[in-house]
Symmetry: C2
Subunit: 418 residues, 2 copies
Amino acid sequence: MNTMATGLRIDGDRLWQSLMDLARIGATPKGGVCRIALTDEDRAGRDQVVQWMREAGLAVRIDEVGNVFGRRAGTDPAARAVATGSHIDTQPTGGKFDGNYGVLAGLEVMRTLNAHGIQTLAPLEVVFWTNEEGTRFTPVMMGSGAFVGVFGAEDVRLQQDGAGLRVGAELERIGYRGDVACGDVPGGPFAAYFEAHIEQGPVLEAYDMPIGVVSGALGQQWYDVTVSGMDAHAGPTPMELRHDAMLAAARMVDAVNRIAHDEAPHGRGTVGHMQVLPNSRNVIPGQVKFTVDFRNLSQDGLDRMDRIMHDQFAQLAARCRCTVEMEQVVKFAPCHFHPDCVDSVRNAAEQLGYAHMEVVSGAGHDAVYINSVAPTGMIFVPCKDGISHNEIEDAKAEHLSAGCNVLLHAMLARAGLA
Amino acid sequence: MNTMATGLRIDGDRLWQSLMDLARIGATPKGGVCRIALTDEDRAGRDQVVQWMREAGLAVRIDEVGNVFGRRAGTDPAARAVATGSHIDTQPTGGKFDGNYGVLAGLEVMRTLNAHGIQTLAPLEVVFWTNEEGTRFTPVMMGSGAFVGVFGAEDVRLQQDGAGLRVGAELERIGYRGDVACGDVPGGPFAAYFEAHIEQGPVLEAYDMPIGVVSGALGQQWYDVTVSGMDAHAGPTPMELRHDAMLAAARMVDAVNRIAHDEAPHGRGTVGHMQVLPNSRNVIPGQVKFTVDFRNLSQDGLDRMDRIMHDQFAQLAARCRCTVEMEQVVKFAPCHFHPDCVDSVRNAAEQLGYAHMEVVSGAGHDAVYINSVAPTGMIFVPCKDGISHNEIEDAKAEHLSAGCNVLLHAMLARAGLA
């Protein structure tokens, strides 16, 4: 850890300035960013980051789904690259930091090494992945998913947005259809991959910790639920003769919450969407549709939540003289990041003197996919009130700098100094 | 009860035919009726019923809010009228029987007396009240409310629909602005008022009873409720750090149900409408708005429901780290029909040999307003599956005939034979 001893640190002001510069592209009146994947704004954002990569001396390559890689050469011709990155597409009312931080922190690592004339044994790469947000084109985490082979590149290129425009055509239109095959990395697969990201949750702030050492990501199972009873006039229908789909659904919401609490600390259960029919104040609802989002760190735990939900929902529906249908619509397996990479992050935080704690990611990230093809780790920094996917998303410059310093030293630990 | 002894009965086929004839005006493809108050369809329906009234020899008068009265003279010049009626306006997707049955049952009573050459001491009237449904112009039960002075006639005439058209102008356009002052009845207030109606609920059918002797109507208190928490990402936000407005609202729905059950047999509690924000499957809802419809037969009971709701909602919100606001938006006092009129209905059913049970109306009816100015009673007959305000609303001809026979003999008992 000679770099640690020399006190090598990133330039926090430069990092902040780059974040603010990139946030001007697609800036919204409320202080957020709207830079949806493969729009003109995304093109402008990509052009800016590619220009910065070139100015930092990186060799840029683009793959067939528009993932962009900037490589800083190493001295060991046999060494595989140590990579970092995230995404620069945003939600329609997104913030300045989600994704952008991970990409620009990677760029800042390169700039810092350039400024200090430091050479690494392994090449270093900074990447931005196409369409992480999935807001215009599904699925989410499209670019990283194609990179690891979860989706076929051609299938991805055929995906359409609401207006019928295809990913492939939009990539060509904005000039980001590359010729590199998905998953190809010069010299072989990444030796390691790190992703720095704002937490998008309230834990680090609640514990006043600048650094989260991310050990894994929760698995997710999402469901569409339909409760069917019978519409009836709220006045003339006695309580004991009702088939009240709203009452059954309400008790199911409570059950979702209890099921998640019973899986503490990692269980999550959320009913975010509900649609009531006919939704009239003096009519007992005949049908209620809602969603369930279950998350847990183990597949056993998710299976248990699934089983208990099915049992309890059936009972709750029957007790209200209703029926219930449940359909699983999304499934992501739990992810455990590579112990070596988790250790590299923890060691870097420790030696830099930053307070840190082990956390798990509740959200999906490109790193979760990359973990399936390369040893991977993540670094979280706090964001204000845990708010993300929102124009008021905010983070402190000192935390962003701390996370970037951890990234720098974790990458150097994996890449080795020349 | 010499009429009973003579076996005087209405003509069930004629009643059914009139119901089917009227249902052709505004008929919908699904077998229902759309004859919204003060539209061209309402005019056509009014014209048809007025023509039938005149053909039955009734003297027709129209008041300043469009209520239409058809009078059959009595022999006692000092006797006040015994009246019956209901409404002929419908919901946008209404049925053939709601309201229409009460008006045409009254007409059938007149036709029956004509056919048998029977004279009564007191005059008899059949009425249809303007805009009972309240679907185009608020408030509901507009005509009967103006008749009893709950609303000023001029205020009613100034009410606007969604297109800015006023009740007064629409009454003039369709030819139903009368010159009789609201509430004026020749010879003085009604001696009694009866209203026959389909039950609009499942009780009579569940007990296999053709006749419901209606002792009163539930009071109603309606509320708008807003639960405020904080939007957050469903993944990264641990259960114990959430401000989940959906969870708090769900527990409130359950509480509404328990509060109503604790007020058996007359308590009703319904959450018919719910709106979730932002209503995205992987976002913990930051705000949920819903409605509460409480009904009970005593004001004490309604006050108790109100108090318990306020206490429990505040506790449930606090336990979910949310806040709650409750606003009462509608209040109708409970109604107890006049014992003499309730007895007349019960006696008629008894002597006609119809199985009957005492019921309370869960819904509002014009009769509830008329009860404040004249002794009033109601007769319920079953409707299929308790369904009303629906194009599939249905009722059996034998039940409609039974209710009409009860109406005939209850009216004769109050009016006296010449």
